[in-house]
Amino acid sequence: MKRKLSGILTLLLVLVVQIAFAQETKTVTGTVVDDQGLPLPGVNVLLKGTSTGTQTDFGGNYTITASPQDVLVFSYVGFQTTDRLVGAQDVINVTLKTDAAELEEVVVVGYGTATRQSFAGTATTIDAENLEVKSYSNVSQALAGEVAGVNVINTSGQPGTASTIRIRGFGSVNGNREPLYVVDGVPYSGSINAINPADIKTTTILKDATATAIYGSRGANGVILITTKRGSAYGEDFIEVDVKTGVNSQMIPRYDVITSPEAYIPLVWEGLYNRGVIENRADPIAYANTNLFSDNVVPAGYNMWNATAAELIDPETRMVRDGVTRIYDPERYEDLAFDSAIRTEANVRFGGGDEKTSYYTSFGYLNDDGYSINTGYDRYTTRLNVSSQVKEWIEVGANIGYAYSESLQNGQIVGSENVFEFADKMAPIFPVFLRDDEGNLVPDPVFGGFQYDYGGASGFRARPNANNLNPIGSAYYDFDGTNRHELNGNFSFDITITEELTFESTYGAQYYTWRNKNFTNPFYGGGTATGGDLFEWEREVLVQNFLQLLRYKNDFGDHSLEVLAAHESNEFERSESTVWKGLAVSPFIYELNNFVENLQPPTGFTEGRALESIFGQINYDYLDKYFLTGSVRRDGSSRFVNDKWGTFGSVGGAWVVSNEDFLSNNELATFLKLKASYGITGDEGDFAGDADFYRGYDTFNLGLLAGGISISPRDNGNPDLTWETSRMFQTGVEFSLGTFLDGSIDYYVKNTDNLIFDRRVGPSQGIAIITVNDGELRNTGLEFNLTGHIFNTPDFKLNVNVNGEILDNEIVTMPLEPSTGEPRILDTSNAPFAYSKGRSIFDFYTREWAGVDPATGAPLWYQYFDDINDNGIFDTGDTAIGEMTPYLTDNPEANVERRVTSTYASATNKYVGKSAIPDVRGGIRIGGSWKNLNFSTQWIYSLGGYAIDYQYGELMSDRFGAAGNNFHTDIFDRWQRPGDITNVPRLADGFDQTATSGSTRFLTSTDYLSLNNALVGYTVSENVLGNTGLDYVNIFVSGDNLFVKTARDGFLPNTSETGNSGRRLYAPLTTITAGVRVKF
């Protein structure tokens, strides 16, 4: 790693080595190594007080002529500068210590660079090392747990999925919360998968307004800056190869569902029995026995036992009787759908250059197969990065990356035909493979082997759940794959006009085409209706970004000043088309000509938006102690109709206290910086749907009806919609205590007003939502990042890093209700949350679950009422409260009491005192080295939040017969007989439809701790490498997603923004890889 930094220093090599003359000069030699004992090339070795010096070679060796009274100064970026008196020594070996705060490290921020010391905002650069060890196809997933205040949501284990990233809480109600990616200085709207993490040199996260305001409208939700690798400009050509291979598997547990048919079938029987009791049937046992094996419950053909219902179930114990035998053993979907798969990745990188030109090029290959059958991601990437000082006054650069990828996502249809849905929710009495009437497997005349069970279509029997579908059959016989060609790059030229003044221009572009093919086979499942069909969609995106920038930079004694002014335009254009054809000639050719019938008219359209900006920035520095920065930016967006332009800006300052005389040479406070900033940023709304580009317009769908044009209303727009504005104040401190502890703490308050707000309307108006700019939201947060150097000896090092965020969110002002002219009291459009003044946008507002009636087993909720006559009971004269918040607003003196109700609709909607926002969340990294062995573990944690576990809710649902789904094993706690005290209602064949309706019943803590990554590596020592020609060899074993502890197995709060596991979740892969990294 360190060696790569040598490139930066090559510029300094132009120093002419002069041999100073003095009495008694002698030749001093030595080796400079880092604190891990690795040689450091390119270290400056100077005679103190002169410009005379040399540099170490690639082995870290130097030779210099010096007098005994000379002092040698060893300096190297990122390391503490060290002085040595020559004296009598002829050999001086030096170990340079890492500069604890890495103060001089250059960080790329905004439209320029700053050193870490001078930067007034908060920018966190993540060690490439920490990201590289994680086996992900893109950088977004690897960011988990690395930076305080950055929440990485791994929404799917499907290889090649990009994570959702949230920086500093929830900036908007209905606007955008996505951060801006900037790659090599160009705003990036391509797929993050198109950038091979192995090509990334640094990843920096900007969080506060000083850092993000310069990006104006697009920086409001934080900025992720990615810089790709470059060649070095002086002769040090290198080859790096890394290869790793490993296994993807499902180690994170799924929901604990019933797997035994004998455990499941009595529950169905009991549901029928209870329904019979509720409906006052004469003989509920006979009713259950008669109906258990019937079309609407379990069709007789799915009775897998040598027994009738009466012979099977003992009505007393409600269990399967002893001695009942099976006709066959049904397979489980989970067992056949999931298996370990191989992941292989190889990257090779070349770089180098001379004093004028540098180059970097790479090739990467990734083969990443998921644990679910026929899912995976293959990718080839290449990058070429060249820059050249063509003339003294002009430097030209070009950086082009290309990625080709194929992803296969079979078996994940959004619908019933989904392997993940079946794995958890298909009752264990239903086999994967079809059985004939004797229980034998049925040969498949089409594909060979045995037929999958598609239910009724087989001609044997209909299945009361997802009849005519089988996701494993679909995963094998159908096809859902996407091929992507993705290009991204930029061309830049910098013209030096005078020494102080430069003109910089960059043209950046991202272009990609995606083609998805979705084939459904003609023999089994849904494709039988179309004779086999192929749905194809194609998407083409072009993003163009032009930047022209004038920069003035000068020093005036102790003052230094940088001023820039710029113009930038960004245009995003996306085209899509679809074709759907049926009647396949060959079932193996997934090309349109192989399908001979049109199933829908082809579709196609282009959409997009344009942004134009002018901006400027001033950076001022006095004595390296006081830093000031200010920026202003004006943005225009095509997404707004009447009011396109907004003005944004920021000011910030930093004071490096430790550079003051009174702290110089202080042993304890080795570094201390205070900083504060204030800024205004804008947001133009999200890009979730096609309609979002045109929210300002009333829009209409086009169609053909009765042979003519048909134009039907689509969305109602708001032409006055304009920028949402955030005002963020931040203050923070960065410090180092001795050599033991580094840390930083930031506190911010972010007020967002003119919120882009989807205001609900009483639907009788003919519309449901109007998007307006109204209301105000406040986010406050405290972020900390502490690194302790527990051991720091040459042989053994141990560092512990803890980061986290504590955040709070509150609606300060609600939008106006136009029919009353007053601010809205309550908006429930984001159920189970609600919006109202003084509340967080993620406070739960729902009905309160009150458990189960011990007498009947029926579900209960709380109904609140205004006890007007104050007698403690709900009776005549009292008012039932439907919605608590509006009621209390109208009746602040209400005497609120509650009682239990068995009618869901009568229960009261109210704030239940829990929030989806955790008290604290973040990451922990423990890492270090022992001799040549390095190791690290990275954990992420979250405490204090809640979510509704909908998937658990589905598994606890009482549905009709066996049609619904499998159960979670918690169903064993259900109410069974009068007097049972439990929190799980009776099973009654779907009688209690509202038992799983929205309430606090499934509200679950989102506390979690996960072992996100663990790594052990070994660096082969130079002694062993000897003359092999290898400079560096490191072998390692790394594991991702090794362990997760949550409130319930299968419940993975980290897979969605609000903390609930989604339906059909492809739970994150556990990946264990072994690899080797070699440098020539």
Binding site: I709, A963, G998
Partner: protein
């Protein structure tokens, strides 16, 4: 140095020039169009103007118009199924995927305002109302009488559809006709904001004035397709409205006008059922209820591949021969009690499959079917939707005549229909007493119009009682009167929460 500055300046201008124009920040959609884009197109293409009206008919069959992605959310025909099931005539006899189960068939939605099905019905009809208000507004408002013939016809259709939607809202959201009861918010202007419920009489005033206007405006309108409401369809809608209000003379006159002037023919036996062949070629023939051009159909929609309907459609729910839920375990069958009442020699008895013990028992496989008759076959849906038939006019006419005591006229009107269904309709009708005639007309209405969304209207108009047969999954044999709370939907939670002027259900 000078050259350098020139170069820089030129480069800067070059790049600035690429974006600094007014148009750069103007972007318009192409997937769908904005009002301005449509106006611009309309200047050159008059078909675009009519397209905005046709769009209302599109909305009537579009999926998701109830504001959800549910597979029973596909416009008017979706709510026709709700009505058929609430009235008990359509039984969900086998349920696998769960659509309609509980919420409709066990009356969970009609008794719980938090259920989404309430929202869907409400959202859909008020969405249609808003789209008609848009058209009426563009033509000058409620009181305007457009000068251009073409615009007069557009205005007439928009008003008729607005009335149609308000009428269905009164049916689905009120238990009985009570002129004084405040039942629904009213919007007859595009600018109207959320408002309070107004009296039934006010709603019906609007409905009737809209329909009367429509009948006048549409006089002379020679429609280009049967998707469009013409004078006779408007009269038909008004006949239903008047029938609900028990104003029988008006029903009598309106239906008489449609029957004598409309030029429609009652569907023949061959058209209403797939016939068994008696000749040497035994291939069955006829039937299908799938073609808008059938002379007995007054109003409907011609579905084509371009309409783009698939599984989420009426056919996708009901037809065994389509890519449908009906084919994979959600059986929609005729109520067994109603089936038993169909006379044995009635051709309509053959509309339903008899196969006791199977999931297809009493399914309408010979009334509604895709012509290829491949089980689970048709996709996309190109068989048509029926909204109104002339048979309804004969039945309404018979009903009105009987209500007015003109029994012979009632029998004559009924015979016009039954002579095409029964071998000897005259003797059949002769056996029915004057007192029994209304019951017979109710029965014939249910049999003739089974699955067409009209049973629910008849139930309320005849003020009858639902008694479900034994092929229903629940409430078998339980009498439920027409004005039972379980037969009407609740004002949805979203309206109560978001309209500050509505905080109560209808009684």
């Amino acid at each position: 140095m000078k050259n350098l500055l020139k170069l820089t300046g030129a480069a800067a201008l070059l790049f600035l020039g690429t974006s600094c124009s007014e148009e750069f920040l103007e972007k318009e959609p192409t997937e769908f169009l904005t009002t301005d884009q449509i106006a611009e197109a309309a200047e050159l293409n008059p078909a675009v103007v009519r397209g905005t009206l046709t769009g209302i008919y599109s909305l009537m069959i579009e999926t998701g118009t109830g504001g959800t992605t549910n597979h029973d959310d596909f416009g008017q025909k979706g709510y026709d199924i709700y009505g058929d099931m609430l009235s008990g005539d359509m039984a969900l006899s086998v349920s696998t995927y769960g659509w309609y189960r509980a919420d409709i068939t066990e009356f969970v939605a009609p008794t719980d305002f938090t259920r989404q099905r309430n929202y869907m019905v409400w959202r859909y009809y008020y969405r249609i109302i808003r789209s008609t208000n848009t058209v009426i507004d563009a033509l000058g408002g409620n009181d305007a009488v457009p000068e251009l013939e073409e615009n007069k016809y557009i205005m007439g259709q928009a008003k008729a559809i607005r009335a149609h939607s308000y009428f269905y809202l009164t049916q689905y959201f009120t238990e009985d006709y009570d002129p004084a009861a405040e039942i629904l918010p009213i919007y007859d202007d595009l600018q109207d904001q959320n408002g309070p419920k107004v009296a039934t009489s006010e709603i019906f005033n609007l409905i009737e004035s809209d329909l009367n206007d429509a009948i006048t405006l549409l006089d002379g309108f020679n429609r280009t397709g049967k998707n469009e409401v013409n004078k006779y369809v408007a009269q038909g809608i008004l006949a239903y409205v008047k029938g609900y209000k028990q104003e029988w003379q008006a029903v009598y006159d309106l239906t008489q006008s449609v029957i004598t002037e409309g030029g429609f023919q009652i569907m023949t036996a061959e058209e209403v059922v797939r016939m068994r062949h008696d000749g040497p070629d035994t291939t069955p023939y006829g039937g299908g209820f799938n073609d808008l051009s059938t002379p007995g159909w007054m109003w409907g929609i011609d579905l084509t591949t371009d309409t783009g309907l698939g599984l989420v459609s009426w056919w996708g729910q009901v037809d065994y021969f389509s890519y449908s839920y009906a084919a994979v375990g959600d059986s929609k069958a005729i109520d067994s009690g109603l089936y038993d009442q169909i006379p044995a020699d009635d051709v309509r008895k053959n509309q339903f499959r008899v196969a006791p013990g199977t999931s297809t028992h009493l399914m309408p496989i010979n009334k509604f079917f895709a012509p290829e008759r491949v089980p689970f076959g048709q996709n996309p849906m190109v068989t048509d939707y029926v909204f109104m038939r002339v048979a309804e006019m004969y039945l309404l006419h018979a009903e009105a005549a009987a209500q007015l005591g003109r029994y012979d006229e009632a029998r004559d009107a009924l015979d016009e229909l039954l002579s095409k269904r029964l071998a000897d309709s005259s003797s059949y009708l002769a056996g029915i007493s004057d007192e029994g005639l209304l019951d017979e007309i109710y029965l014939q209405t249910r049999i003739e119009l089974w699955g067409e969304g009209k049973s629910y209207l008849a139930l309320k108009r005849f003020r009858e009682t639902v008694v479900r047969g034994d092929n229903h999954l629940s409430f078998v044999g339980v009498p439920i009167p027409y004005n039972d709370d379980r037969l009407t939907f609740e004002i949805p939670e979203s309206e109560i929460q978001n309209n500050p002027f509505i905080d109560s259900q209808n009684d």
